[in-house]
Symmetry: C2
Subunit: 644 residues, 2 copies
Amino acid sequence: MKEAVKNRINITDKFWGRYLDIVSEQVIPYQWDALNDRLPNTSPSHAIENLKIAAGEAEGEFYGMVFQDSDVAKWLEAVAYSLEHKSDPELEKNADEVIDLLGRAQAEDGYLNTYYQVKEPGKRWTNVRDNHELYCAGHLIEAAVAYYHSTGKRKFLDIMIKYADHINDVFGNGENKIQGYPGHQEIELALIRLYEVTGDEKYLNLSKYFIDERGKQPHFFDTEKKKRNDSEPFWFHNDYAYHQAHKPVREQEEAVGHAVRATYMYSAMADLAARTGDESLVEATKKLWENVTQKQMYITGGIGSMAFGEAFSFDYDLPNDLSYTETCATIALAFWAKRMLNLEINSNYADILETALYNGSISGMNLDGKKFFYVNPLEVSPQTCEVRKDHEHVKPVRQPWFGCACCPPNIARLIASVGHYIYSQKEKNLFVHLYIGNETSFDIQGTQVQITQKTNYPWDGDVAIEVSPETEHTFTLAFRIPGWANRAIVKVNGEAIDHLPLTKNGYVYLDRTWAANDVVELSFPMEVERIQANPQVRNNVGKVALRRGPIVYCLEEVDNGPNLPGIILPRNAELHAKYEKDLLGGVVVVTGEAQRIEEENWENALYRPVEDKTKPIQMTAIPYYAWCNRKPGEMLVWMNESLN
Amino acid sequence: MKEAVKNRINITDKFWGRYLDIVSEQVIPYQWDALNDRLPNTSPSHAIENLKIAAGEAEGEFYGMVFQDSDVAKWLEAVAYSLEHKSDPELEKNADEVIDLLGRAQAEDGYLNTYYQVKEPGKRWTNVRDNHELYCAGHLIEAAVAYYHSTGKRKFLDIMIKYADHINDVFGNGENKIQGYPGHQEIELALIRLYEVTGDEKYLNLSKYFIDERGKQPHFFDTEKKKRNDSEPFWFHNDYAYHQAHKPVREQEEAVGHAVRATYMYSAMADLAARTGDESLVEATKKLWENVTQKQMYITGGIGSMAFGEAFSFDYDLPNDLSYTETCATIALAFWAKRMLNLEINSNYADILETALYNGSISGMNLDGKKFFYVNPLEVSPQTCEVRKDHEHVKPVRQPWFGCACCPPNIARLIASVGHYIYSQKEKNLFVHLYIGNETSFDIQGTQVQITQKTNYPWDGDVAIEVSPETEHTFTLAFRIPGWANRAIVKVNGEAIDHLPLTKNGYVYLDRTWAANDVVELSFPMEVERIQANPQVRNNVGKVALRRGPIVYCLEEVDNGPNLPGIILPRNAELHAKYEKDLLGGVVVVTGEAQRIEEENWENALYRPVEDKTKPIQMTAIPYYAWCNRKPGEMLVWMNESLN
């Protein structure tokens, strides 16, 4: 067993510190109320009640999604990370009580799933394709591992070890075992975390089994279906591509189907590839990464452009207004990116991680932590969402809770664990992937090294990293040059160095003997960039998006008036970035003189010969993640552009 | 009773002549096979079989849509018009046999609807909201009137008079009558045609009753629903706006709901307004006309931008790729426009009529008359239609037939009756609305006047109208100056006249004494116009459509390669129009040098800072109506534009 608490990290960052505070002060208590059905005017969760019923401590019926347990798991995981950030005895007591309840609800043999225990006893594992038992188990395992790391308490971990052992008895090769795998991936990556903390290879092997078995013929979903006398064609075009089970994972070259399922699986593939060195898996994982990030990803890190199936569609199909881009999918992209960095150090992975963190994931939550988007499109016209059924999945304002409440606790656990994304360590290399103010320490080949990052990121690109080994020590500090940074300046103890010869795959490798209070200063000048999309993205030809550092910008009606597509940004318009401390929790806004097509002189014409009547307007763009925190209205990322 | 055959018209036009030939030689026989279930690999119609079963001459069950009878009706109506164009004894014999069959299927009391007669006897008129009895009756009445005008035979008319009388007994104010109206409007305009041919005011009054009663409280659909113990909320947002029955018609200011239902009703409103002079109805009809044509109409004359409910959505919501724009809806727009011209002479109505005729209606049929579009979007990417459920209503190629086969016979009857749209007459005014080669004659205040139009329209705008009264006669020839014609030249017997002082609401009123072989020559120079959309149309900012005369152009992949949005048309690019006799049955193509964003140098980037890399390409645009008659692929009407 690994020690419970490894390198603690203290987030001192203004940007993420605020988010962490909101998660611990607002989101976690709010979601606790939600799980206990104490929120007015929202879909009830019933998740805690289901556990009580399963434990025999309450009467009643199971209520909620078949995966309702996972909301409890994700909440516990968020609590675990939050407790790393700030101790909170009362919260920890709550969590301990939930864990005790989980223990009491657990069946003798280790099984733990309130849907089947309460609603369909005797039917366990009969519909692994649809009914999320392994998915819920995965989330509970992740939470248990996190709680152990955070608190050092083993109880939850032991509960989940017992369950995992049971699952290991039920699934796998061998007589009387189910040769199958989950319809919603998640347990694969959870089992690797369980392996990491326990060192027990059977969990690694079971994860590997689930991945290797997937998509083989004869098809498990067919066999399982037949066994339960189900003759219905599967609702998603009768195609197991929805579950990424249409063919073995090593033969998959394009991301297809449900985006969260897919990306959880790709994360597990990256984990397994990094741990096993399996070349065919490495190759498949990289191919899928390239497909997603080079052909199916929005500029915000949003993925999954179709509402039907919450799914990937096809290369370059990235409509701005119809997109699904589920909050959970962008979160999953961050999970995946982090794991790709374990597989291979390349700034491309960290760039995407950064994009996902600062844009399409946190856009899923109001700045006050009280409301959530499930769907994060890049263009919203409220009237369109209200009237058009093809846009009904797009809510023009964040919602207090959801019947399918996967996103709110997922964003909570991501934010609460943001400290886990900043560094990674491999032998004598300490990698800095993200620039987030924090204090932490690492054991580098036996020497304790204190690391302190100071930065005002993402609003400016100056970063100071203080490196203080307890005694002088030679090792490599490898830090990322962000893809957007064109003229990076690197100084060591005040002296500029030429970092280009030290750079490999976007990381600068500073191999030197470090002494106490050494300081590396990085300067990544942030300019407002006009970004264009690959011309194969049908909807974005003639349009630009604004980006500054890692932040993608958008226009909102509240700043720019209605009909945002009527605004045209001239290529030569000067753009100004200015920090507004009182706006949206403190953001850099981008302003400039744009043109607006005159609507006044159209009278009653719907079509007419071309005529150029525009008028100058002052345009204001705000960070995408912060949209819809003032007066609701239209929003637009990709702006029309003119070349003069 | 009016005389059966009024002014015959002989279409000598090359453009419409070809279409008329195709309708009589191809479409009508093809649809006859369809109605008789003799088409391979298509949804069976069963429409004739249903009639035989109703007549007791065949065994079996009713099959098809609840409005399957209307396909027979529309076919008969098309046959009627086609027989005006070209006699065809065999076809007429077929039609007579169908009419005999209708007579034998008709119930004792006049009722005639195979769905209820065969499938739900005893349930007549229990669900007038959904089950299309009055709709089918309307189509049969229209067909009967047309057949009487065309052939002089009364049998069909008598059958329908009997049915109409029965309907008049069933519906209306008065005890034991149903105080209701149809869920799908159509009978309203049909009854006016029946009134016109019979002179019997009860039909006019019944039509007026249906229109006036609509949308009143307590709501007929609620009452009717209660009576049949139906407690289901209505599927379209539980809102009778779907049927334009959400409020009385005079209070309706915006087009809402199912576009064909709406436009058939607006047509009837225009008819009634013209005949009754009812000011409130005139005003409501004009308001709705303005709303549709100034805020909810595509440049092709397509209307109804939503697949859900085949419906109007809201002002300026005109997405190019998601649009429904049903063929029948554009046909209905032509019906309505024609009736607006009866209400008031204004070239605006005829311009829209012309737009609908030359673009969004005939686009519904392949040039060979063998395949049909139900949905006519302005931008098609086949892969999008295949993969994305939100686009599944869009078929990237025309289909041989449909389970709901309303469009094919509707386009047939429109084309076959195109001669009815060219002129109208009011007292001593003879109005020329459309420029289509033809020979016909009118009785103008007792003098027979021969009219011959010669033109190569729509490919050039030169028109010669020969006016030959049997004896010298003073009357007014009033002809339209098309809205697109900027520099019209008008000559009378070779001499140019200043037509501006003679122009009112877009029509030139030539009031003179006409003698044999007088010739009016019109010249409307056709230039390729770059059209832009009102900037409130979100999707079209920065885009242009090409139009020449009445013809809207599009780009096709077969001419321009894939990824059509990657083509950018510079504002200053010269555009050339050239007649290609061997292309697509003979069309003017528009060519010019455009720019294409380079796709080659993007390598694997999905997003990058702006950089202008375009290459010149030769662009070819073809008439929209003719798209998808060669190799299937992408299509695009609204092109990206650059200002230099």
